[in-house]
């Protein structure tokens, strides 16, 4: 995907945004820092949504925007959209509306679902023509097996009729022929090869990245539709696609922290044989990912630190630097500082 296009879509005219962090957020690189900036920029719902794509180099992407007068760039690869950039952003966003459907891609492995679906279409399409001499796709050993098993279990069920009807209803329901054509071009089967995003881009006069984002959006919609249908013969294709909210290790730490005995971070470090700083990182990750009322901030932010933080905090807590805070509250720990920022940000969102 073209990173400069993504920077336009996910940039802002009123906030300098860290190009590196945005790339890492979309790629789903789970560090406390990336998660924090995801929260701060309102991009947490898209965390890891574009993990399966090659996103390219951030410096080159920011330079492209800068040269085209679409963004200003400051040290540390911070960028802010210009008014022309905002115009361009609106155009791009209009071609992938509504953007928030991409959040489904962060919750479920939609790319994997799309590969399974496209492969299933190929198998059913060839079967409907009674053709067994064709090159099957390969989507990884386990999913190849899954499709095989699914097909054996379901091939008596008039699958070609089912797929035809499903796609007929789904695509006409889009009420947008261009989007429906874009979706159909992702398929492949008997006598029809499908198109790559750049071939489709030439035909539709859209950018390849916009085509790919539209595919993700449409497959998300199809996935959610199928998930609601207990009768679909595609049940097996929907399994094992949930993306965990937290990393496994962070979840273990958090579960221990809120367990009946309520151990403190030092005890958890001992129990889990991990560093204390790692325990803190896990807890920050949990605080970022969970709603405000599901994280016990009061067990970690004590008085008088909390009052001191409230008194010293600037209006824009998100941009507050730890160094500045530490100058005012000398015994402040980074962990407390970050947790305070997270809770304030979440309170703001709830208001």
């Amino acid at each position: 995907m073209d990173l400069s296009t993504l920077y336009l879509i996910f940039g802002d005219a009123n906030q300098d945004r860290r190009a590196k962090a945005i790339k890492n957020i979309l790629d789903g690189r789970r560090t406390v820092s990336n998660l924090y900036w995801g929260l701060e920029y309102g991009l947490l719902p898209y965390f890891g949504a574009l993990h399966d794509f090659d996103l390219g180099d951030e410096q080159a992407a920011v330079d492209t925007l800068n040269k085209a007068g679409l963004a200003t760039v400051s040290d540390g690869l911070l960028y802010r959209l210009s008014s022309r950039g905002v115009d361009q952003q609106k155009k791009l966003q209009a071609s992938i509306t509504p953007l928030n459907e991409l959040a489904t891609v962060a919750q479920y492995d939609i790319v994997r679902f799309s590969r399974r679906f496209i492969f299933a279409v190929q198998v059913v399409s060839e079967y409907s023509y009674s053709n067994n001499r064709y090159y099957p796709q390969t989507i990884g050993f386990f999913d190849d097996q899954l499709i095989k098993r699914w097909f054996i279990q379901n091939k008596q069920r008039n699958l070609s009729g089912y797929f035809h009807q499903l796609l007929q209803q789904f695509l006409s329901g889009l009420e947008n022929d261009q989007l429906a054509d874009i979706f159909a071009a992702s398929l492949t089967g008997h006598g029809f090869s499908g198109l790559t995003e750049d071939q489709l881009a030439v035909q539709t006069d859209l950018e390849p990245t916009i085509i790919q984002l539209n595919w993700l959006k449409l497959y998300s919609r199809l996935f959610l539709r199928l998930k609601k249908d207990p009768e679909t013969p595609l049940q097996l294709l929907l399994t094992g696609l949930i993306k965990p909210l937290m990393s496994g290790s962070a979840k273990q730490t958090f579960d221990l922290f809120v367990s009946a005995r309520q151990p403190d971070p030092a005890t958890i470090a001992q129990l889990r044989k991990i560093k204390l700083t790692t325990v803190y990182e896990h807890l920050i990750e949990a605080a970022i990912e969970l709603p405000l009322d599901q994280f016990p901030y009061q067990r970690l932010l004590h008085e008088p630190t909390l009052t001191n933080l409230r008194q010293a905090a600037p209006v824009n807590v998100g941009e507050w630097q730890f160094k500045a805070a530490k100058a005012q509250i000398t015994d402040l720990q980074f962990f407390e500082f970050r947790l305070f920022q997270i809770s304030e940000r979440k309170k703001g969102d709830n208001d």
């Binding site: 001499r133 796709q137 390969t138 050993f141 035809h164 159909a184 492949t188 089967g189």
Partner: protein, 482 residues
């Protein structure tokens, strides 16, 4: 006595064998280990597929082409076999473990020589009953072959440890020296093994080469050719980046439908481009040598080399992808003097330098689990001194430079190109038609447009334009039964 023609029809739908196929199968059914040199497109896959299908026995195929192994699996599935799997280093641990646990479910098992050298994997394979042991691209066994792989040297021993199953060694091109070396390395004597060597010559492929002054002139020449040449074509490059650049250039400047293809692309994209090419939805593929294995397109009319391949053997293999339908086809090699330096650099990059070699000899622990340096590890493990290994590498480098020079000689030759190519394989061309041989006998470059009109027939099946309307697409995809 098995009726091989009937079995061929039963399992593949074909009515007759391609040259050499029947003889190879007869040898295998007579229990004779066989070395088969069959040209590209000669139907090597079908040999072991059919043997497995008829005997219901397990077939192990050792193949060096890790990145293409999945294509081979697809190809075998395409030919009708379903219980096929590949074990490669490209798989993650869980995938590999799952396959090894269920190995007995598979009839055709592809494995790279590196994987077979892994103790655990070897033991799992050794537990299976093996009906046929196939060594694909067998020229890799030979240090005289262009693609020497040290793990291939262990195959002789491995075969012995597998209790000497019936063995089929195959390659598209091998000189006499390479053939002798293959047998020797596998622990065979010449009398143990039935050898079947089919002529390398493909008389329906016209050979030509053009020396351009520089790259812009070469691009111009390519553009002119592509604009007018009839039918489907493949253009080969040694750089992934340039497949994309030139594909973009040709798409822009000609009305041909051109796509790039290389091993750095994801599976789905590679799959789509192969499908489109086979269905005739695109005219030309700009590709690295990764392209070819997964396609079964009979009517490719021309192959153009924009860059030099490694050597004459590779060149012959690659041009062999045109004219599988036996219709007149064209091979063009475009060359500009800087091309040889590009190729020399590629050769230099694949052979470790002295400094690196000495470093590893001082720190042998770093050779463990490092696939990039398996060749060094091989010589270190068999007790070669650093100077001996260095001498081997120098020799390998000189040999590859020598092979490259032979190819350049082919370009600059003022004689018959076919004669020169065939000499390389100790063959002579019989019944050469001077009207349709190479640009030595006729003024091809003065009359190539006429040649194009006369010989290169546009395909009738390759002119369909795919619908872009979603309703038509889903109607086409699913044949509904009333």
């Amino acid at each position: 006595m098995i009726d091989l023609t009937a079995e061929l029809h039963r399992y593949s739908g074909f009515d007759s064998f391609r040259p050499g196929q029947r003889e190879v199968l007869e040898n295998l059914f007579a229990g004779r280990d066989t070395l088969a040199i069959l040209p590209t497109g000669g139907g090597k896959t079908l040999l072991y597929q059919l043997y497995g299908a008829i005997t219901h026995q397990r077939v192990i195929i050792v193949s060096p082409l890790i990145s293409l192994m999945q294509d081979q699996v697809s190809r075998l599935q395409y030919l009708g076999s379903k219980r096929v799997v590949a074990i490669t280093s490209a798989m993650d641990f869980q995938e590999r473990a799952a396959i090894l646990r269920n190995l007995n479910h598979y009839q055709y098992i592809y494995v790279s020589p590196e994987m077979l050298s892994n103790r655990n994997i070897f033991e799992m394979i050794a537990r299976q009953s093996i009906g046929l042991f196939v060594i694909d691209e067998a020229h890799c066994i030979s240090e005289w072959g262009p693609d020497f792989r040290p793990d291939y040297l262990r195959l002789g021993k491995i075969r012995h440890q597998l209790e000497n199953p019936l063995t089929l060694m195959m390659t598209a091109t091998a000189t006499q020296r390479t053939r002798d070396d293959i047998l020797n390395r596998m622990g065979f004597t010449a009398t143990d093994v039935k050898q079947l060597v089919l002529p390398t010559n493909r008389s329906n492929i016209f050979l030509s080469a053009k020396i351009c002054a520089n790259q812009p002139e070469k691009n111009e020449q390519l553009e002119t050719l592509v604009k007018e040449l009839n039918g489907a074509g493949i253009i080969y490059f040694s750089s992934k980046k340039q497949t994309e650049q030139i594909a973009a250039m040709l798409s822009q400047k000609t009305d041909k439908r051109v796509m790039a293809y290389h091993g750095g692309m994801d599976n789905q994209r590679r799959f789509l481009i192969q499908q489109q090419f086979m269905n005739g939805d695109i005219d030309i593929v700009c590709a690295t040598s990764a392209f070819g294995m997964g396609i079964d397109k009979e009517n490719v009319r021309y192959v153009i080399h924009y860059h030099l391949p490694d050597n004459i053997q590779s060149y012959v293999q690659e041009i062999g992808r045109c004219g599988r339908d036996q219709q007149p086809s064209l091979a063009i090699l475009l060359y500009e003097p800087n091309d040889q330096y590009l190729q020399q650099n590629l050769i230099a990059n694949t052979i470790p330098e002295e400094q690196l070699l000495r470093y590893f000899y001082q720190h042998p622990d770093q050779l463990q689990n490092n696939d990039a340096f398996r060749v060094i590890k091989y010589y270190y493990d068999i007790g070669k001194t650093v100077d001996q290994t260095l001498a081997i590498f120098d020799q390998a480098k000189s040999r590859r430079i020598g092979e490259l020079n032979a190819l350049i000689q082919y370009i600059y030759t003022t004689g018959c190109r076919r004669k020169l190519l065939l000499q390389h394989f100790d063959e002579t061309a019989e019944h050469v038609d001077p009207e349709f041989c190479c640009d030595f006998h006729t003024d091809f470059w003065g009359n190539w447009r006429q040649f194009n009109q006369q010989y290169l027939k546009p395909s009738e099946t390759d002119q369909g334009v795919q619908s872009t309307d979603w309703r038509q697409i889903i109607d086409k995809l699913f044949l509904l039964k009333n």
